[in-house]
C-alpha cells in the first residue's frame, strides 16, 4: 500500500468543519505558525481513536476505528487518508494508539476483544501487515516510541472476569516482551526520557516507571478513567476519558481539567511548537446519529 496523494483523495472524504472553521476540514484559520491557535472542531468521516503528532512533518495521524485506516491532518490539506490497514477481524478494527517510526512506518494496536488482538503496520512503500506471532488474547491499546527507537505497547487480558495488564517491549519482527507487569487495564503509554508513563484505567491512576519489572512505580495522579496519553508542556501529560474531559496531569498527585463537554475523549496529541492540543472526540452512541470529531485546542 502506497501513501496516497491527498489532493485527489480529498473529495472522497466526507469531512466537514464546524465550530467556527470553514468547510472541508482544512484548518485554514491557522495557516501562519505565528498566528494564535483558534479552537476548532472538525467533524470526521471516521471514528478517531489514537492520535500521533509528527512534529517533523507537521502532520497529525489519526487511527480511524470505523474504517480500519490511518488518517492524516495537516493545516494545508486538512484530513486525508494516510494508509489503509490489513483486513480487520470480524468484530471490527479495534484500533488503539498509532505512532510513526523513524523510517516512516505507521504502527497501530488492535484491541481484538480477547480473540483478535494484534499490532498492525503500514510502511511508506505502501505495504502493510500484521506483526507476527503475537498472542491474540492480549487486548492492546497503548503504543509509544522511546528516544532510542524502542517501541512499547500496553495490553491486558481479561480471564475469569479479572483484568491483568502489562507494558511490553515490542519488536515488529514478532516479539512482545513484558517489561512492567501487574497493571489492571493499562491504556495509554508514553516514553519520557528513560521512563514510561502509563494510565491504568480501571485503577484510575497514572503511573511513572522505568521499563523494568520490580521497579517502584510512582503515582503521578489519581483521576477517573484515564485513557490514552500524550506528553504536554513543562513536564505534564494529557489524558482524556469516557467522562468527556481532557485532563492535564502535573504529577505529584496534581491534575486539572483542561476542557470538558466532549463525548468520550480517546486519543490526545500535543504540538509543542504551536502549543495546541488535538483531541479525539468519540461518539459512543452512533445509533442516534454519528458525531465523531477532532478538536484542536490552544494551550496557554
Amino acid at each position: 500500500m502506497r501513501y496516497l496523494d491527498t489532493r485527489w483523495l480529498w473529495p472522497l472524504l466526507i469531512v466537514a468543519a464546524c465550530g467556527g472553521s470553514s468547510g472541508g476540514g482544512a484548518a485554514d484559520e491557522n495557516p501562519d505558525p505565528d498566528e494564535p491557535v483558534v479552537a476548532q472542531r472538525i467533524a470526521l468521516d471516521g471514528d478517531p481513536n489514537g492520535l500521533f503528532w509528527d512534529a517533523a512533518s507537521g502532520t497529525l495521524y489519526i487511527a480511524d476505528d470505523n474504517n480500519n485506516r490511518i488518517l492524516s491532518w495537516t493545516e494545508e490539506n486538512g484530513v486525508a487518508l494516510a494508509a489503509e490497514l490489513p483486513e480487520a477481524p470480524p468484530d471490527g478494527p479495534g484500533l488503539g494508539q498509532v505512532v510513526k517510526t523513524a523510517d516512516g512506518t505507521l504502527v497501530a494496536t488492535r484491541f481484538g476483544h480477547g480473540t483478535d488482538g494484534a499490532v498492525v503496520f503500514a510502511k511508506p512503500d505502501g505495504t502493510s501487515g500484521v506483526v507476527p506471532n503475537l498472542d491474540p488474547v492480549r487486548r492492546r491499546l497503548g503504543l509509544t516510541i522511546a528516544p532510542d527507537g524502542t517501541l512499547y505497547d500496553t495490553f491486558f487480558v481479561s480471564l475469569n472476569g479479572v483484568k491483568n495488564g502489562s507494558i511490553a517491549r515490542l519488536d515488529l519482527s514478532g516479539t512482545e516482551t513484558e517489561v512492567v507487569t501487574g497493571f489492571q487495564k493499562p491504556v495509554g503509554v508514553v516514553a519520557v526520557g528513560d521512563d514510561l508513563v502509563v494510565s491504568d484505567q480501571d485503577r484510575d491512576t497514572v503511573f511513572r516507571t522505568p521499563p523494568s519489572d520490580g521497579a517502584t512505580l510512582e503515582v503521578l495522579a489519581q483521576l477517573e478513567g484515564p485513557d490514552l496519553l500524550c506528553v504536554g508542556p513543562d513536564g505534564t501529560f494529557y489524558s482524556g476519558g469516557k467522562q468527556g474531559s481532557v485532563r492535564q496531569i502535573q504529577g505529584g498527585g496534581q491534575f486539572s481539567e483542561v476542557m470538558g463537554d466532549f463525548q468520550e475523549v480517546r486519543g490526545v496529541a500535543y504540538d509543542a511548537k504551536r502549543r495546541r492540543l488535538f483531541v479525539a472526540d468519540h461518539d459512543g452512541t452512533e445509533g442516534d446519529g454519528v458525531n465523531h470529531a477532532l478538536h484542536i485546542l490552544p494551550v496557554d
Binding site: G114, N133, L134, D135, V137, R138, V157, S158, L159, N160, G161, V162, N164, S166, A168, G174, T175, E176, T177, E178, T181, G182, Q184, R203, T205, F207, D213, G214, T216, L217, E218, V219, Q222
Partner: protein, 405 residues
C-alpha cells in the same frame, strides 16, 4: 449415557416424592432486595476512597421454590458501574441431607463468606483476609451434604470455571473446591436458636489453573488495593481452616488461610513458545472476630438478628471486633513481599426485621506503603451504614414440606 442415568436417578426420586406432596405444596416466588447506603470518612481521602455518601449495595433478584425439592435463585448487584450477576442457579434437594446445585453462586470456602451473607456480618464487610483469599463466585456444579444432629458433617464438593468468573464466557478453565465441616448445637441448620452452645469447625481446599491473573489481592474495607499483586500463571492452591463458636450471646470466628500461586513469564508474546518458570509466591492470613449480641436473640449462622422481646431497645444490638494479619507474595527472589495488620470494631443495631443501622471503624497498618501514598504507614476508615432488605423465609427442606402453610 452414563450421565443421563445419573441425572435420571437424581431427578426421578425428587419428582416422585414431589408428586406425593403436590397436594400440600404451593409454589412460592420471593423477591430479593438488599440495599446499603454508607457515609464514609477516610484518613486518606481521595487516595483510598471518596468521603461522603455512597450506595454500596443494591441487590435485586428473586428466589422461586417451585417444588419442595427445587429452588431457583437469580440476583444481580446494581450499585456498580454496570449491573453484575451474583447468583443464577438451580438447586435440587433429593432428600433432607443432600443438595445438588448448578449455576453461578458462592464457592464454598471460608465460613465467613459462604455461611453468612456480607450484609449481615457482625462487622460490616467481610474480613480483609477473606476478601483476599476467598475464590468468590463461579459457575459450576456443586454437591452439598447438609449436617443433621445424627450425622453432624457438612460437605461441599464443587467443580466450577475458576475464580471470580460468573458468566463463564471468557475461558475454558476449571477449578475444584472441597470443604468439610463438623457442626454441632446452634450451628446446625434449623437448630433451636435458644441453644446455649454451637460449634462449626472445618476447612477447605481450592485448586485451579490460572491464566495470567493477579495473585492474592488485599484491600481495605473500602476496596483500596494497598499492595500490587504479582501476575500468577499455572497451578494455584488455596487452603483454609475455620472455627465458629457460639456461647450464648457471644459468637467467635477464627479463620486461617494459605495460598501457593505459580508464576511463569511469557518472554516473547508468542503463545506457541513455552514460558519461563518463575519462583512461586506464597501468601497467608489469619483473622479473629468476636461478636456480642448485647440486646436481642442470640445469633444463628446466616440469619438476620432479631429482637428477643425484652429490653429497652427495639430490635437487637450487637457489638463486634476483629483482628487480622495478612502476608502477601513471599518466597520469591524477584518479588518484594507485602502485608498488613488490621483491626476493626462495629456497633450494629438490627432495628427491625428489615432495617439496620451500623457504625464501624477500620484501621489498617501497612508493611509496605501503598504506591499511591508512599509516606503512609497506616490508614483509617470510619463508616456509618444503613442496611435494608426484604425478609425472605429460608428454603424449606423436603422433610419440612408437611409443615408448610
Amino acid at each position: 449415557m452414563r450421565s443421563s442415568l445419573l441425572a435420571a436417578s437424581l431427578i426421578v426420586p425428587c419428582v416422585l416424592s414431589g408428586a406425593r406432596a403436590a397436594s400440600a405444596f404451593e409454589p412460592e416466588v420471593y423477591p430479593l432486595l438488599v440495599g446499603e447506603v454508607d457515609a464514609k470518612l477516610h484518613s486518606a481521602s481521595r487516595v483510598e476512597g471518596e468521603d461522603g455518601f455512597s450506595v454500596t449495595r443494591l441487590r435485586l433478584g428473586a428466589r422461586a421454590q417451585l417444588a419442595p425439592w427445587f429452588v431457583a435463585v437469580g440476583q444481580a448487584e446494581w450499585a456498580l458501574e454496570k449491573p453484575v450477576l451474583l447468583d443464577a442457579y438451580a438447586s435440587l434437594r433429593p432428600s433432607d441431607s443432600w443438595e445438588i446445585s448448578m449455576g453461578a453462586r458462592k464457592t464454598p470456602l471460608f465460613a465467613s463468606a459462604r455461611d453468612d451473607v456480607v450484609w449481615m456480618l457482625p462487622v460490616p464487610e467481610r474480613p480483609m483476609v477473606t476478601r483476599a483469599f476467598w475464590p468468590s463466585r463461579d459457575v459450576g456444579l456443586e454437591v452439598h451434604h447438609l449436617p443433621s444432629p445424627r450425622l453432624p458433617i457438612e460437605v461441599w464438593v464443587r467443580g466450577g470455571n475458576g475464580s471470580g468468573n460468573i458468566l463463564g464466557n471468557d475461558n475454558s478453565d476449571f477449578a475444584i473446591d472441597a470443604r468439610l465441616d463438623a457442626v454441632f448445637g446452634r450451628a446446625l441448620p434449623d437448630a433451636d436458636p435458644t441453644q446455649l452452645l454451637g460449634l462449626r469447625v472445618g476447612g477447605g481446599v481450592h485448586a485451579e489453573s490460572a491464566e495470567d491473573r493477579p495473585g492474592v489481592r488485599a484491600t481495605t474495607a473500602d476496596g483500596f488495593i494497598f499492595y500490587r499483586p504479582q501476575t500468577v500463571y499455572g497451578p494455584r492452591r488455596i487452603m483454609e481452616a475455620h472455627v465458629v463458636g457460639m456461647v450464648g450471646p457471644v459468637k467467635a470466628t477464627a479463620e486461617i488461610t494459605f495460598a501457593r500461586e505459580s508464576r511463569a513469564r511469557d518472554t516473547d508474546g508468542n503463545p506457541e513458545t513455552p514460558r519461563v518458570d518463575q519462583d512461586p509466591v506464597f501468601s497467608s492470613g489469619a483473622m479473629l472476630e468476636v461478636a456480642w449480641m448485647a440486646v436481642g436473640a442470640w445469633r444463628t449462622l446466616g440469619t438476620w438478628p432479631t429482637a428477643s422481646g425484652t429490653g429497652i431497645l427495639p430490635g437487637a444490638l450487637e457489638v463486634a471486633g476483629r483482628l487480622e494479619r495478612i502476608d502477601l507474595a513471599y518466597g520469591a527472589r524477584d518479588v518484594t513481599p507485602g502485608g498488613a495488620t488490621a483491626a476493626s470494631a462495629a456497633v450494629r443495631w438490627w432495628a427491625t426485621p428489615f432495617a439496620a443501622l451500623s457504625a464501624a471503624l477500620y484501621w489498617t497498618g501497612y508493611d509496605v506503603p501503598p504506591i499511591e501514598s508512599p509516606d503512609a504507614t497506616d490508614s483509617w476508615l470510619g463508616l456509618v451504614r444503613a442496611t435494608f432488605h426484604m425478609p425472605v423465609p429460608r428454603p424449606q427442606p423436603p422433610g419440612a414440606r408437611g409443615s408448610r402453610k
